[in-house]
């Protein structure tokens, strides 16, 4: 089985170029249909995400497979771009290299953010789409199903997915989780309705937070965000009251000065009866004066504090790379070895079929002769057995040789020689 891949990713191609080659779901189907029209015996899967566009093609023989230049030509033509101008941005991989790359992609070790969990499902979805539309065949089934297993193995045997690396996720799922056991009975206050607030809300809800209030200078924006997530919004003048009742504060405003100074907070904290409070100050410049974090029972984290954790977690994930690569290498060897064993099995079967064919035709020619037409069934059976033994003895040694070398490099040349000598396609 043969496999080939062309594609561009965040490693070598800037986003301005990548976006020119990206495919929508509808475009994927159209493109693969077009590819099948041009190369009918070729299987294909097209993976298009925000960080990569990759086209995988497979076939049982090399001749059925389009060349990398033809594939680049195809992609550029589809997007009505000149191939010469973009050729350099495309990676070209064949055989084991293409398989290894696919396994690396699905295991997320090739991702911009190592260990991100989305890519495995994106690879699976691309394969599913190809299966559904009939673009995938034995080669694609084998590599993409194996890629799925490799991603799971890497996930289980390494800690590549364990540490969170985005500021909102670290803020909620690590810092706040270290203080609170549960969030469904906590009052959460989100100050500001900016992008960071929007990104943090799903994590809060995912942790089970039920009582979330958004306070923003513009009530309209707060209401819009609150409606989007099904939470409450309150006007800016209710800020102090909400700080007093909150257990967890996420602050994300664009204010140029701290909105809560230490002196203001001290008064609020007295009104709060010094209850434990977690403040995730995700705003730059900061919304809470840093000295507030020194007060008892207040756990204040700024973006920088959280970024330190993110970086540490990122480094930790990257430390898992050698182990993940080792797993991928093992899996590539396994799938290639399986393919080779299967290929030698096909050759052996074809050779036996050819020999059986010759035996049958020679026997019918022999039994058609006058002298043997009246031979007793015992004699006929003896002749058939003699032919069987002859065929088996002739084939035994070459077939044994193939089996013996099925795990090493000689196998390919031996199988090719056999196919060539006996004219097996």
């Amino acid at each position: 089985m043969k496999l080939r891949m062309i594609g561009c990713s965040h490693h070598t191609t800037p986003v301005e170029i990548r976006e020119k080659f990206s495919f929508t779901e509808q475009q994927v189907e159209g493109a693969l249909n077009l590819l099948r029209d041009q190369y009918s015996d070729c299987e294909s899967v097209l993976l298009s995400t925000c960080n990569r566009v990759e086209l995988y093609v497979g076939a049982s023989t090399e001749v059925d497979l389009p060349t990398t230049s033809q594939l680049i030509q195809f992609v550029t033509d589809f997007h009505q771009l000149a191939p010469q101008a973009y050729e350099e941005h495309f990676a070209r991989l064949d055989g084991e290299d293409a398989i290894e790359h696919l396994f690396s992609v699905s295991s997320s070790i090739d991702s911009l953010v190592v260990g991100e969990s989305q890519i495995a499902s994106q690879v699976h979805e691309a394969y599913e789409q190809a299966v559904k539309q009939g673009f995938a065949g034995p080669a694609m089934h084998a590599v993409f199903q194996h890629a799925n297993r490799v991603a799971k193995r890497v996930g289980h045997e390494t800690e590549i997915h364990t540490r969170r690396i985005s500021v909102p996720s670290v803020a909620v799922s690590e810092m706040a989780r270290d203080v609170f056991e549960r969030f469904d009975d906590k009052k959460v206050l989100v100050i500001g309705s900016g992008e960071m607030g929007r990104e943090t809300l799903p994590y809060l809800m995912n942790e089970g937070a039920k009582s979330i209030t958004i306070v923003n200078r513009s009530l309209e924006n707060a209401q819009k965000l609150a409606e989007e997530f099904g939470v409450r919004s309150e006007p800016w003048d209710r800020l102090d009251a909400n700080v007093i009742s909150a257990d967890l504060i996420v602050s994300t405003t664009g204010a140029t000065e701290p909105i809560i100074t230490e002196s203001r907070f001290r008064k609020l904290q007295t009104a709060r009866n010094n209850r434990m409070l977690v403040i995730l100050d995700l705003a730059v410049p900061r919304d809470f004066e840093a000295s507030i974090g020194r007060l008892p029972y207040v756990y204040l984290y700024s973006v920088d504090d959280l970024q330190v954790v993110c970086n540490r977690n990122r480094t930790f994930r990257e430390q898992q790379l050698p182990k993940a690569k080792r797993i991928i290498k093992e899996e590539v060897e396994r799938i290639v070895s399986d393919w080779k064993i299967r290929a030698s099995g096909d050759t052996i079967r074809a050779l036996r079929d050819r020999a059986a064919e010759i035996r049958t035709s020679e026997l019918s020619r022999l039994f058609g002769k006058q002298a043997l037409q009246n031979a007793s069934p015992e004699v006929q059976q003896e002749i058939e057995h003699a032919f069987d033994r002859l065929v088996n003895k002739i084939l035994h040694q070459p077939l044994q040789s193939i089996r013996d070398v099925s795990q090493n490099e000689q196998r390919d040349s031996l199988v090719s020689a056999l196919r060539w000598l006996f004219k097996i396609r």
């Binding site: 289980h156 800690e159 609170f180 029972y297 504090d305």
Partner: protein
């Protein structure tokens, strides 16, 4: 039948495994296998411990139909067993947390002390009635809860320190959340007050039904009563301070309670309540409540009367 050294070694292995988690990844296949091995080792330890305890119970009840002959050794073994059960429960419920290193030292210490103490019962004289047994179990339960509360308080302060220093615990040294340590610390504190209170009441009833009087001025009784009063006050203080927002109140009360229990046990053991004399129906009239209180209190500290 296993002997106490057997499960002391088993618990030591569990403790070493807990310590080894510092260097072993907490997630992935390795983390999963570590937890499986840890649970298996803890189960084996607890199983052998339980077998030994059942054997001791069989021995204690084999003398007469209505009395139990219990030694200091037995109280030590039973105390360690209750803490080991608590550890096993925490290990299953929160296997990702490093709770074992805070609880297992108590288990090891109690088993170690029990080994030092003679397993021989104090003859037929050391018999106990139903009330005495209830009294002993309640006092021992209270002491164990105070020890568990101390472990929770230690975890609380360690976690609070880490959070103040912006150190996330999603590492190999994971501790329970502040809220968890605080709420279980509170349960331990209230539970220990209730248990010691019940122990006091059952001790009084035991004395009244047997002797018709209680020697209130016995130092052992006074220290035990002082301990109970302290636990009630500590529970009230932590409740009041928690309402006012002091998150550390429960943890401080747990630490103080542990220190006071340790001191009370030491003081009780220094009195005649410590049971320097053999117990028996013939001399129970003198200091029976005192001696009983001492049995359970000292069982956690392991002093031989």
């Amino acid at each position: 039948m296993p002997n106490a050294t057997c499960f002391l070694i088993a618990y030591s292995v569990v403790f070493v495994l807990e310590l080894a988690r510092w260097r072993i990844p907490s997630t992935g296949k390795i983390g999963w296998w570590t937890r499986v091995i840890l649970v298996a080792a803890a189960s084996v330890s607890l199983f052998t411990h339980t077998l030994y305890l059942l054997d001791r119970i069989f021995l204690a009840t084999s003398g007469t139909n209505s009395t139990w002959a219990i030694s200091w050794h037995d109280w030590g073994i039973l105390s360690a067993w209750t803490l080991a059960v608590a550890y096993g429960w925490l290990l299953i419920r929160r296997s990702e947390n490093w709770i074992g290193i805070f609880v297992l030292p108590f288990v090891l210490m109690l088993v170690g002390v029990a080994i030092i103490l003679s397993p021989k019962t104090l003859g037929s004289a050391n018999s106990a009635t139903g009330w005495r047994l209830l009294h002993g179990i309640a006092m021992m339960g209270g002491t164990m809860l105070v020890s568990l509360g101390f472990a929770m308080a230690t975890m609380y302060f360690l976690q609070a320190w880490r959070l103040k220093n912006k150190l996330t615990s999603r590492s190999r040294f994971q501790l329970p959340s502040l809220e968890y340590s605080q709420s279980y610390g509170r349960i331990c504190l209230l539970g220990s007050a209730a248990s010691i209170g019940f122990g006091m009441v059952s001790g009084v009833i035991m004395n009244l039904t047997r002797d018709g009087r209680v020697e209130w001025l016995d130092r052992g009784i006074l220290f035990s009563a002082g301990l109970f009063v302290w636990l009630v006050i500590a529970s009230a203080i932590q409740w009041q301070l928690s309402r006012r927002g002091s998150g550390d109140a429960t943890a401080w009360m747990n630490i103080l309670s542990f220190l006071i229990v340790a001191a009370a046990v030491a003081l009780v053991l220094s009195t005649p309540h410590g049971g320097n004399k053999m117990f028996g129906p013939s001399d129970e009239g003198q200091t029976s409540v005192n001696r009983d209180l001492l049995i359970e209190a000292s069982s956690s500290e392991g002093k031989n009367p």
